[in-house]
Structure formats: structure tokens, C-alpha cells
Amino acid sequence: MPKTQLTKDKLQQKVKELLESEKIEAFVGYGEGDLSLKKIPLVITRPEDVSKLTFDQTSTPLLSRYLLDGELKDKKVGILLKGCDKRALDLFEKENRINKENIYTLGISCNGVISINKMSEYLNDPTEYELNFDGEKVKASSKTGEEVEFDYQDILSPHCHICQSPTPEDVDDLIENEASEALVPIKEDGIMDSIIELEKASKEEKYQYFIESLNRCRRCFACREACPVCNCPKCLFDIENPRFLDKSTEESAQHQYYHILRAFHVADRCVGCGECERACPEEIPFYLLHEKIKKDIDEMFGEKEDALSYAYPDDVEPFEEGGEA
């Protein structure tokens, strides 16, 4: 039996128990989407629906953010968490954004997820392929019969290369992922190779590199919305009066403004899930800005354990009366 099937069986069994025993009212996990390369977030409430749950290296979206607001907020919910998703949940707890009492955390040991953006470095149209995972190798086959083989490493999300805790800690229960025999040798210093590369470049080269890539930005905000820690109830860039960010996409300076400011807002809280990188339709390497800031913080102030600052629900809205913008 394929290892992903074994993992899936264990997951479904466990969730079935949780729902049947009424320990939880709903479970947030992954389901099959319309594209085989992307699992989708799925909320189920009935034990007979557990067969819809699945998990593999294409289960990319972060689930923790769904507990922040909306109808799941005050329910007894079970949630499937990879390492990064658990790190995000921990942050929400510190910030008082969730009620931990109501949440059953089902961890899953993770062996990284793929990035379709990475795949497009090798394939013209990644979504035309089905992936077959076999240990350290991945076979991509298209319906026209074309086959390409990769090292799993080649199409792994850049953030997963440096993930320090792919197996979530302090969870209510943990599902051992059958397919995870340390497929991913993790870089223990937590620094992306591309950061080291970039640091070697001259000032002008770096500038050129970022300008050229940032200018492709459509300002669709997928990078912001997909990020679990980018969760201010009112984002500075959405404020209309005064408008901080020009809607025009013609001025390079505005792209820089958006990305550098976002980098400063999230870098210290970033849980390194890589969803921002995967969400960007233009494949813009803006996340290197965050990674560089993280590295600088660590070097200059010593390794940080936690976010440098927290936001609390009763904080004064800085853009409203009484706040200090």
C-alpha cells in the first residue's frame, strides 16, 4: 500500500473518532481540489465525511488562520497541523487571538511540501502534470505521456529546506506520516542558500534583482492574504483615507513600499511556512527580504525565540482616533 494511503487511513480514523465522540464539532484538514497539485482546506462536521480528508506533499495552504475569525472561532474544532502551522497557532495563542480550550490540535509529521512555482523552473506548465512521490524521487507525468523525474528537493518549497521543526511540538495527538523518512535534510542554520548567494552580490546587483522582480507585482495581495501571521483586522494597505498605498502599478517605488513595509511587519513573526511564496502568481522572490531581516536580527541581537512584538485584541487601532500612527 502506498505510504500516503497509510497516513491517510490513520488520519481519517482519528478524525472519525474525534467527531463520533463529540470531542469536536468540526475538523479542519485538507481535501482533494480540482488540481492534483493543490490540496484544498476542507472543513468537515460529520463522521461520514472523513473519507474526504487527505494529506500529502501537496497539502500546502495553512489551516491555522481559519480559526481566527468567522464561524469556526467559537466552535470546538479539531485541526490538522504541520510544524509551521503549529508555530502559527502558538503565535495566535500568545496574542490572545484564539481560545486554546476549544481547539484540538492534531499534529502530523511533515516532510515538506512542494512549490508549483519551483516546478515551473523545470516545466512549462506544472499543472499539466500528476506527481508520483517515491522516496527522494518524484515523477511528473502529463496526460500526453511525457515523463520527467526530479529529486524531491528540487521542487520542495524553499522554506521547507530550512524548517527547524517540521514535526509539530506540544500537540494533543500526533500522526506519524508514513512517508516521512527524513526525505529532506534540513539546513540546521536555518538560512536559505539564496540568501547567502544574494549577500555576495554587489549593492547595484541586489537593487536590480529586487527592482526587476518586484516590478512584476500585480498587487493582488495573495502573498498577504495567504500568510497566517499577516492577519491584522485592518491592514494599513487597505486604509482608504488617507491612502497609504497608491493603486497604480506603474510606479516602482510603490512596489518597493508595499514589499519592504510588509517585510518589516512580518519578518519577526514569520513562521517560515512559505505559503506567501507559493501563493504568488508572478513568482516574485519577495520572501528573501523577510529571510534576510530574520538573519540580521539573529546576528545582531542574538537568536530570537519569539516575535519581537505582539499585537493584542485590545490594542488601540493606530489609525483611528486615540491611536498613534
Binding site: G31, E32, G33, D34, L35, S36, K38, K39, I40, P41, L42, V43, I44, T45, R46, D49, K52, P61, Y66, G70, E71, L72, D125, T127, E128, K143, T144, R218, R219, C220, F221, A222, R224, E225, A226, D238, E240, R243, D246, K247, S248, T249, E250, E275, R278, A279, P281
Partner: protein, 351 residues
């Protein structure tokens, strides 16, 4: 020579002929969202400047007002003056232009759009391989029979034909400049067995089917105002702008002013109905305050309001939103819940 080589054939013709080279600019309709040729993400209306004499306004090179004194914009980009020839325009994206024409060319006509639309030459061609993300046939579009376009490369009739006077003139001009291109273009042939011939896909060859579908979905949606589906979709949706920005038929825009010190400009820019501030009004009221209101509106616009207005769907099944949505939402989800597509396993309905 393959049908898809039209781009190469034209590029060669242009290369050999300076006059053509100067006049035309080849754009790839497969690589780019073709709406951006007629409706760029940002388009300036005017610039303004505060001087001792008061505020002065300068219309920008939109073809409306001749900015001959040169005080306004300095963007006289050569490429902008050229005529765009959009090659490899797919049946889906060309269909989507009908939505655009409906919106921008009905009274009151939008002059910025009209100007670009009239100037551009669209070469539409049959689409021979359906991608995993395509579902044009589910919304009544025939990928082998492009509609629209000035020049059409059509499998079902065979060969390359000028459709509109503009398209015919364009072909004539190419042939006049380079006689050999005539036979080359005429010889372009079907390069592979299509999915249709292989039996991989069923397609409706009648445009009527699309009308039927539009009417059916419209009626069904009339009774789906309170469906739980909207709760489920809005829970999952992140509220970004991807689905609308990459959609060939989404056309909403915002008019904004931007100024620094004494100079500024007024322009329009793409907007997305999925953004929280999309319908927010002066004074702060927002008639669509929740994500649920917004995603519902997006689907109603495409599958109910537009069919009511002109019997066409606002979705051409190109699958762009499906490919780019970080959480895999697309009209397929809606069509499935409405019983138009069968696939129990992927149903999200939990009630």
C-alpha cells in the same frame, strides 16, 4: 508548418520588412491575459499641477485630447504607438472580450477601451489540447471553433481567414509585402490529433448550448440566495485579488487620484470585488461588509446578473482562477454544487 506557428511566420515577415516592423507589434495572447491589451492594469486620465496661477490639468496620451504643447505627459513610448497584433488568442479569451465589449462599448462608450480595441488586430485560433485546469466546454464554449477575432485560424473550416475588414486588410498587407507568406500561411496545417478527435472531450458545436446554460444557471441561482454553499466558500476564501486579476472577463476598476506635493494624476486601476473595501462608500458604509457577501456577488455577477442582462455567462472556463487561487476555489466548485458537474468526491457541501 503548424497552425500554432503563425507567430513565427509573422515575425519573419516583419523582420524582413521595415515598414511592417515599424507599424506592428506582436503580442502573445497565450502568455498574456489578453484583457491587458485593451484594459491595462493602470491607465492615466490626466495629470495636474499646482502653480501660481492655480491648478492646471493635462490630459494624458489617451488619444482623446492632443497634448501638443508637451506640458503633460512625457510618456511617448514608441511601442504604444504601434498596432498590436495579438497572436494565439484562444477561443476562451476571445469570448471573454464579448463581456468587455458589452461593458465598455455599450453607451456610454469608453473611449480609452474603444481606441485600443479598434487599433488591435486579434488572431484567434482553435485550441487543440485542453489543459487540466480548462473547463470551457462546461460553460458551453467550443475550443475548436473560435468566435470573434479579426483573423481566424479555424480547424473546422480549415486554414487562416480574414474575418473583419481590418483582419482582411492586415493579411493582404502581409501578402503584398511578402508573396511567399501567402502559401506559407495557407499551408499551415493541423499539427496533431486534437483531444476532440481522440474522443477525450465532448463539445457542443452549437452556440445555443451556451445560452441554455446561461439561462439554466441564472434560474438556479435565483433560488440559491440562502444556500450554505456561500458559507463554505467564504470560509475558505482568503479575500485576495488573484481570481479577478487573472480572469480574462473580470473588468472592474477604480478611479483614483494620487498626488505628491504639487503634482499628481488621476487614473483608473484594476479593482477586485474580493477586496474588503471594494464597495465601501463615502462616509464609510459598505453594503458588502463580509467575505460571504463578496464571494457571492462575484459568482452571481458571472452566473446570474450577466446572463440576465445579455444571456451570456461571465465565465469562459479558462481555469486561470483555479490555477492561481491559493485555496483552489473556482467556478467548478459552484457548477458542481449546482449539479452541472458530477464529482461526489470533490463536493464540499457538508449539509
Amino acid at each position: 508548418m503548424k497552425l500554432t506557428d503563425i507567430k513565427k511566420v509573422l515575425e519573419e515577415a516583419f523582420e524582413k520588412n521595415e515598414k511592417l516592423e515599424e507599424k506592428y507589434n506582436i503580442c502573445d495572447g497565450e502568455k498574456e491575459n489578453i484583457k491587458s491589451f485593451f484594459f491595462p492594469q493602470t491607465e492615466k486620465y490626466l495629470e495636474f499641477k499646482r502653480t501660481d496661477k492655480g491648478t492646471e490639468f493635462f490630459p494624458v496620451n489617451n488619444g482623446l485630447v492632443n497634448d501638443s504643447d508637451g506640458t503633460g505627459s512625457d510618456e511617448t513610448d514608441g511601442a504604444k504607438e504601434k498596432i498590436n497584433v495579438v497572436v494565439r488568442a484562444k477561443p476562451c479569451s476571445v469570448e471573454a472580450l464579448e463581456v468587455f465589449d458589452y461593458v465598455f462599448l455599450s453607451e456610454p462608450v469608453d473611449p480609452l477601451y474603444k481606441e485600443k480595441r479598434e487599433k488591435t488586430i486579434i488572431i484567434s485560433s482553435s485550441c487543440r489540447e485542453l489543459k487540466n485546469s480548462c473547463f470551457c466546454t462546461s460553460v458551453g464554449i467550443d475550443p475548436y471553433k473560435p468566435v470573434g477575432g479579426d483573423v481566424r485560424i479555424d480547424d473546422s473550416t480549415g486554414g487562416v481567414v480574414g474575418v473583419t475588414p481590418k483582419g482582411k486588410d492586415f493579411l493582404e498587407e502581409i501578402f503584398e509585402a511578402d508573396e511567399s507568406k501567402k502559401s506559407e500561411i495557407q499551408k499551415l496545417e493541423v499539427d496533431q490529433e486534437s483531444d476532440l478527435e481522440k474522443g477525450n472531450v465532448k463539445t457542443s458545436t452549437e452556440r445555443e448550448a451556451e445560452k441554455d446554460l446561461a439561462n439554466r444557471l441564472k434560474d438556479k441561482l435565483d433560488n440559491m440566495q440562502d444556500s450554505k454553499l456561500w458559507d463554505e466558500l467564504s470560509l475558505r476564501c482568503l479575500g485576495c485579488g488573484v481570481c479577478t486579476y487573472y480572469c480574462p472577463s473580470c473588468h472592474c476598476f477604480d478611479v483614483c487620484d494620487y498626488y505628491k506635493k504639487d503634482t499628481g494624476s488621476r487614473y483608473r486601476a484594476w479593482d477586485s470585488c474580493m477586496f474588503s473595501e471594494f464597495t465601501s462608500m463615502a462616509g464609510g458604509h459598505n453594503p458588502r461588509p463580509t467575505k460571504k457577501d463578496r464571494i457571492k456577488n462575484r459568482f452571481y455577477h458571472k452566473f446570474n446578473y450577466l446572463p440576465k442582462l445579455y444571456e451570456k455567462l461571465g465565465c469562459v472556463g479558462c481555469g486561470k482562477c483555479l490555477v492561481h487561487c491559493p485555496v483552489g476555489i473556482s467556478p467548478l466548485t459552484l457548477l458542481r454544487e449546482m449539479g452541472e458537474i458530477e464529482d461526489e468526491d470533490k463536493s464540499i457541501s457538508t449539509s
